[in-house]
């Protein structure tokens, strides 16, 4: 029983991380039809903004040394700024281009960020100890649960709730949903394209920032491509959930996280190294039977 609860919490916390990252990808995709592979590098930027820029082997905290709420605020602002910068310098110039061109542009941004990080911070991974208190364990009824996992799950719940509220009940949120459904029609009704897009990139940046903080606290190390695997799994999650649907992104994130954790726990030891192969096998099966993912986005079907 206690083992089961432990696995369940592992699954939910990994799923949370993927869900947040998938939501960041989904927000941009639903409006621009851009699969932003640089999203993982936004996560990397968030983590590196914690330390003083230098190529030395030991990391000295910069933003990371501040009060925790100042850290959260500052990292969110930094990553959101970089997301907006990427849009202004690159994506806005290929707005009318095909999805393939957009995808290629995002790879370009991704490599640019990774190499800039390499140049400034060096290639060696750096150890950091952010918020050590979160890595302590909580003893509840015989269970030892890492505090960070609880924080991750609660943070995700809070962010998804706030975002849902924003999209459902504020004027800007309704405009965003309209733009995601039919961008041109929304513009005919006076919705300002540049504002909606900026808002999407800003929100996507904030989500990446939160992922970077949770992830950096968990792993305790920084590397120039640390965000890439998260973004890759998040992309898989958006496809599983249904590209173009935000509910689908969250659902897909949790599905992928839970599947990974369950396979890790249930596979015989000799097969565990091949966990990802099993996971992707299951995903392929799902996509064969439900090609549009768990949640079908009507906007994708109706438009074209």
């Amino acid at each position: 029983m206690s083992y089961f609860v432990q696995v369940a919490i592992d699954a939910l916390s990994l799923g949370s991380l993927y869900a947040l990252a998938a939501l960041g990808l989904g927000l941009i995709f639903s409006i621009l039809r851009l699969i932003n592979f640089a999203h993982g590098d936004f996560i990397t930027i968030g983590a590196y903004s914690l330390i003083v820029p230098s190529a030395s082997a030991t990391a000295a905290f910069f933003i990371g040394a501040w009060h925790w709420y100042a850290v959260v605020l500052a990292v969110c602002i930094v990553v959101a700024m970089f997301a907006l910068l990427a849009d202004n310098l690159v994506f806005r110039w290929v707005r009318e281009a095909t999805p393939t061109t957009l995808l290629t542009a995002s790879f370009g941004v991704s490599y640019l960020i990774q190499n800039s990080v390499l140049l400034i911070y060096g290639a060696r991974p750096k150890a950091i100890d952010l918020w050590p208190v979160l890595n302590s364990q909580l003893s509840v009824a015989g269970l030892r649960i890492p505090l960070l996992q609880i924080v991750t799950i609660l943070t995700t719940l809070a962010l998804v709730t706030v975002l849902t509220f924003f999209l459902k009940f504020t004027s800007a949120g309704i405009q965003m949903r309209a733009a995601a459904s039919d961008f041109t029609m929304a513009r005919y009704l006076g919705v300002r394209a540049d504002r909606v897009i900026a808002l999407a990139f800003g929100l996507s940046g904030v989500l990446a920032a939160v992922v970077s903080l949770l992830f950096a606290t968990q792993t305790g190390s920084l590397s120039f491509n640390m965000g890439v695997p998260i973004a890759l799994f998040a992309f898989v999650a958006t496809v599983v959930g249904g590209l173009g649907s935000l509910e689908g992104s969250v659902l897909g994130g949790f599905s992928v996280g839970i599947t990974m954790t369950l396979l890790q726990a249930l596979l015989p030891i000799s097969l565990r190294p091949f966990r990802d192969a099993f996971a992707f096998g299951l995903i392929l099966l799902l996509l064969i039977f439900r090609p549009s993912g768990l949640v079908r986005a009507s906007a994708l079907v109706d438009r074209v």
Binding site: R177, A178, D182, T184, Y188, L189, G190, V191, A299
Partner: protein, 247 residues
């Protein structure tokens, strides 16, 4: 109010509109009549900022609006209802209307009540996703949503498309009411001549991207000239008399 001057539009190498000019005066209900592919929709989209013509000019209230963004043109008071109505299917009726309130010329809550007083049926469906609405209801929603932007000129592409004749009459009664009681100026695209001769003040007949005929509806009632301009030949096949008046 609206002047389209010698506009040409092409997609890639295909020219769909050739040197087209038309005007709409304040308070008029003008109809552009033409078959599928005649270029009606392209002209309207160009006025609304969705397409940039490669030649010509478009003036609204004497101000050039060519190649301005759709949201800018919407703010000037031109509201465009494209073909197929294009309601946001996953958004509720109320949310669809609120998107139209984006421009913020009035208080959205007041405007919403105003629209609901005008279309009681929409009020009943306030919380329903727009995809659940019937075609007629969706057309009302599209009109209501356009009204939320407080336009002075409305462009409506094929309002009768896919609707039952009884509903089409309703839609035209609404448009007529908007013109007569609210001082709205209307430009309407249609394929069928059946109703338009009854409702429009003036018509343009469009074929192959250029205007074949224009004039006041009263003077064109004979129908034969319209038919000739519309189809490009005089007698027409017996099956092609879309207009009951044509002998």
């Amino acid at each position: 109010m609206l002047q389209v001057q010698s506009v040409s539009i092409r997609y890639g190498r295909v020219t769909v509109v050739r040197d087209l000019s038309l005007t709409v005066a304040r308070g008029e209900l003008v109809c552009v009549l033409g078959q599928n592919g005649a270029g009606k929709s392209s002209v309207m989209a160009a006025v609304a900022g969705g397409i940039v013509p490669y030649r010509g000019n478009i003036l609204f209230e004497q101000m050039p609006i060519l190649a301005r963004s759709p949201e800018y043109i919407a703010r000037l008071g031109i509201s465009f209802i494209p073909e197929g109505r294009r309601v946001f299917p996953e958004l509720t009726v109320g949310e669809n209307l609120l998107v139209g309130g984006t421009i913020g010329r009035g208080k959205p809550a007041d405007d919403l009540n105003d629209i609901y007083a005008y279309f009681p049926r929409l009020k009943e469906r306030h919380s329903a996703p727009a995809r659940q609405l019937s075609g007629g209801e969706q057309q009302m929603l599209a009109i209501g949503r356009a009204l939320m932007t407080h336009p002075t000129l409305m462009l409506i592409d094929e309002p009768s498309l896919g609707l039952a004749p009884r509903i089409v009459d309703q839609v035209y009664e609404i448009l007529l009411h908007l013109r007569n009681d609210r001082g709205m100026t209307l430009l309407v695209n249609e394929q069928s001549t059946t109703r338009i001769l009854r409702y429009a003040d003036r018509i343009y007949v469009l074929r192959n991207g250029s205007i074949q005929l224009e004039g006041k509806t009263g003077m064109l009632r004979s129908g034969d000239a319209i038919q000739k301009a519309y189809f490009g030949f005089g007698e027409g096949g017996a099956s092609m008399t879309a207009d009951g008046r044509v002998a």
